[in-house]
């Protein structure tokens, strides 16, 4: 017998609103199943249960605001109890030693409901959003299975209603800031304020010659269909994940006054949202994925994040974060550590710079890496070695 509790979906989260249960008493669940949808400042998030069994009772009805850690449901274990069963926490426990089974990156699960007045079925998150913003679902095209209306369809329709001034020569601005954007801004503000208040950051920077890597990518991608092409960001991810094994003091959580390294490597990827805001959900076990799988996971994650669909475990689990400014940005970033993590790697846009190779001036592609780390968990000397290890992997692409 176990109790399912409200999981923490980010360092800044204290409570969430339970939108809908996707499993009912009497239904069986297995570890990794999505059990409910919770609305937070980051949007509607599907939360997973990490136990196998049968739902015995639901303790909190939909619509309530639930604090993190509160008991939500009782799950009966499948095996008959031979004696007293130890109560184990259902949500991913805060200590790194008991991180959950890696959740495969999958599409959002819909619980199709009875059509509203003859209209197409809509997901619970979509109905909740529509009710909250006074939107008639009958006028919305669904992009989900069998034409079902999903959250992103309703959100798009609602955003389309807000006046968007299209200025072709300048970046577009929304005339009205939607509620969800303001909530996102508050969430970022809370996390970043806490970070700057609590974490003694130190910073290291390094200019990395990525000419060989970019050339290797171009050659590799030349024969590939678009779906299989690899972007530079995936190489950054791979270099970071591969280097963490030797530098555990940069991979884990600082909580309750002490640092605990994680035995798994889940790299959070900072993804900028088009409507403003930033989330950094995890790619689980990034060190164990081949380059192709890493790229597929990265593309899938970015697309789901931008569509507003991500999972609780993806938000709660990053053991370190990568923030890459892509090819549009600036030379370097001084990143802010996302608590309770203890490090963050920043990567600027690769740019052509004059450089000296074997005593001669030449033009190379240079990417500025920056490492921000928590001085309670590590020192600059180790930070420098860690950064050099990442740089070395980026300078010499190893064949996958």
């Amino acid at each position: 017998m176990g109790v399912f509790r409200m999981p923490s979906l980010g360092a800044d989260m204290e409570a969430g609103t339970l939108v809908e249960w996707l499993k009912q008493p009497g239904e069986g669940v297995k570890s990794g199943d999505i059990i409910a949808v919770v609305e937070t400042q980051k949007g509607a998030i599907e939360i997973e249960v990490f136990e196998t069994g049968t739902i015995q009772s639901i303790l909190i009805p939909a619509g309530r605001t639930v604090p993190v850690g509160a008991e939500m449901a009782v799950i009966a274990s499948p095996a008959p109890a031979a004696g007293s069963m130890p109560t184990a926490p259902m949500a991913p426990p805060p200590t790194p030693e008991a991180t959950p089974v890696a959740i495969p990156v999958a599409k959002a699960v819909l619980a199709p409901t009875a059509p509203l007045g003859g209209a197409r079925p809509a997901s619970p998150a979509a109905r909740h959003f529509a009710a909250k913003h006074g939107i008639d679902l009958a006028g919305i095209d669904g992009s989900g299975p069998d034409g079902a209306i999903v959250y992103v369809d309703v959100e798009k329709a609602w955003q389309a209603r807000q006046t968007v001034a299209a200025i072709p020569a300048a970046p577009p601005k929304a005339a009205v800031v939607p509620d969800s954007a303001t909530a996102m801004r508050r969430a970022i503000a809370a996390a970043m304020t806490r970070s700057k208040r609590e974490i003694p950051h130190y910073y290291l920077g390094h200019a990395v010659d990525v000419t060989a890597t970019l050339a290797w990518l171009a050659t590799n991608n030349a024969g590939r269909r678009p779906e299989e092409r690899i972007v530079f960001g995936a190489m950054l991810l791979r270099a970071l994940a591969a280097s963490l094994g030797d530098y555990p003091e940069f991979n884990g959580f600082h909580r309750d006054g002490r640092f605990a390294p994680s035995d798994r490597i889940h790299v959070g990827m900072a993804v900028a949202l088009r409507q403003g805001g930033l989330v950094a959900p995890a790619i689980h076990d990034a060190d164990k994925l081949s380059l192709d799988r890493l790229m597929a996971a990265m593309r899938d994650l970015v697309n789901r994040v931008r569509a507003g669909r991500f999972r609780g475990s993806e938000l709660a689990d990053p053991t370190i974060t990568l923030t890459s400014l892509g090819e549009l940005g600036v030379d370097w970033v001084l990143p802010v550590i996302y608590p309770p993590q203890v490090a963050i790697l920043g990567a600027g846009s690769p740019a052509e710079r004059s450089s000296i190779v074997e005593g001669r001036v030449t033009v190379r592609k240079i990417c500025q890496l920056t490492l921000a780390a928590d001085h309670r968990a590590s020192d600059g000397h180790r930070g420098a070695l860690f950064l050099r290890a990442i740089a070395k992997r980026l300078e010499n692409p190893v064949q996958p």
Partner: protein, 86 residues
């Protein structure tokens, strides 16, 4: 497929990448990636979508031909025209 049809499809797919933008009014010579703030993943999604809808695979070496709306339509029309002539 006509040039206008290609342009329409391109605008639609750009709209999928940048839904908050009024894509019908994109200036022909605006730099797509900068003006619309499309990053490498967004651009890759666009290339994938164009491959599906127009059956045209844009190799990485040709990405620069898609820098502007006008340039992209020219490039895609040429590729589509070339396919029809065979």
């Amino acid at each position: 497929m006509t040039r206008d049809q290609i342009k329409q499809i391109l605008i639609e797919e750009i709209g999928n990448i940048a839904p908050e933008i009024d894509c019908a009014n994109i200036q022909e010579n605006a730099e797509l990636r900068e003006e619309l703030d499309i990053d490498s993943i967004g651009f890759l999604n666009l290339v994938i979508a164009l491959a599906k809808r127009l059956s045209i695979e844009v190799p990485e070496a040709d990405y620069r031909r898609l820098d502007t709306l006008a340039g992209a339509v020219d490039y895609l029309a040429a590729k589509a025209g070339a396919a029809e002539n065979h």
